[in-house]
Symmetry: C2
DNA sequence: CATTATTTTCAGTAATTACTGAAATTACGG
DNA sequence: CCGTAATTTCAGTAATTACTGAAAATAATG
């Protein structure tokens, strides 16, 4: 950690601390941050050297980051070690993050809500049944929407994001059309 | 917990378990779920009775949920106890959740990235400086966009979400116009 | 197929986070 | 103000999660 320059260290430490808010632990956050800034792919021992954590901790952290599809493994010619890096395009990174979070945070909930709705009585809907349906519909709608957005290619997505306030005008226009 | 009907219990237990993914603890998740389904506002002892956790735990959990603006405190006439409930409109709930998560997860990061960029050399941008700037720009853009979306009134927002795939067509149209 | 480099697993331990019960504080009603 | 109902705080403890070192597994090389 001492061998890193000030800005890099600040960045890495911040990602470690934010880890808790993001549902990952400190080391995982730091490993990701290090790889994100790295100019070239790093091997596990590079990470051990940079962060000063145990080799096994790095191994587990890399495994978790791979499960998140946030780092990719690659091999350098004439070297049998595994090297790791993050994708170059930050938009692609964001997309992966959103997809994976959805998978972990939203999908299981939607599945439970669906089950609960199946058991519910169509005719005489109780208050909690109604509440469950409202949450279900909201989640389903939001997910359909984010699916549509994520399906856009990066450059179209960038355009949508850049629209900003223009979204409002487009909606108004869309309404007038129907 | 035994006094609750099956579906309610399933719902509450699920929210307790999901808590870890969402950065809140089990009890906080359960308290929220209970209040979300409840027909009327509940007081702390109602929650203790329903969930079987300690009074102090309920107190702390309610405090956290209030900090998240996910439950509101109210008083019933002729009763000096505090009662709690969740907003009726699920879209309002979603908006609050997004705003609060942004505040906790994104704002601090954006602030660190801004600081790091200030120190950076405009002329001769190093690889990590460039990487930091890319992440900063992405976050800033996304936040501006979500701000714009959240500023829409609920019914317009619902329309945007319902647009779904139509977003693509609207963007195409927007492009043709400029 | 033996050697060596590399990665993974996992039991034990350290660190952190969640929860409780008791005591302190607040605030209402007489 | 006094008494009481209600809530909050907090020190201690329980439960969970993170991390390490050593041992096991995997895989490349001659």
């Amino acid at each position: 950690m001492e061998s890193l320059d000030d800005d890099t260290r600040t960045f890495i430490l911040h990602f470690g601390e934010m880890g808790s808010h993001w549902g990952i632990n400190r080391t995982v956050g730091q490993v990701y941050a290090l790889l994100y800034l790295a100019e070239k792919p790093l091997c596990a021992d590079d990470i051990v050297a940079a962060l000063g954590v145990s080799r096994s901790n790095v191994s587990m952290s890399l495994k978790e980051l791979q499960a998140w599809r946030l780092v990719k493994l690659q091999h350098l010619s004439g070297d049998r070690r595994d090297f790791f890096s993050t994708p170059d395009d930050v938009w692609e990174i964001a997309r992966t993050l959103i997809e994976e979070r959805r998978k972990r945070e939203l999908d299981p909930t939607l599945s439970v809500l669906r089950d609960l709705m199946l058991r519910s009585d169509e005719q005489d809907e109780s208050h909690s049944q109604q509440r469950i349906r409202e949450m279900h519909d909201l989640l389903e709608q939001s997910m359909r929407w984010s699916d549509d957005l994520l399906r856009l290619n990066p450059s179209t997505l960038k355009q949508v994001i850049r629209l900003g306030d223009g979204v409002r005008k487009l909606v108004d226009f869309g309404n007038r059309k129907t």
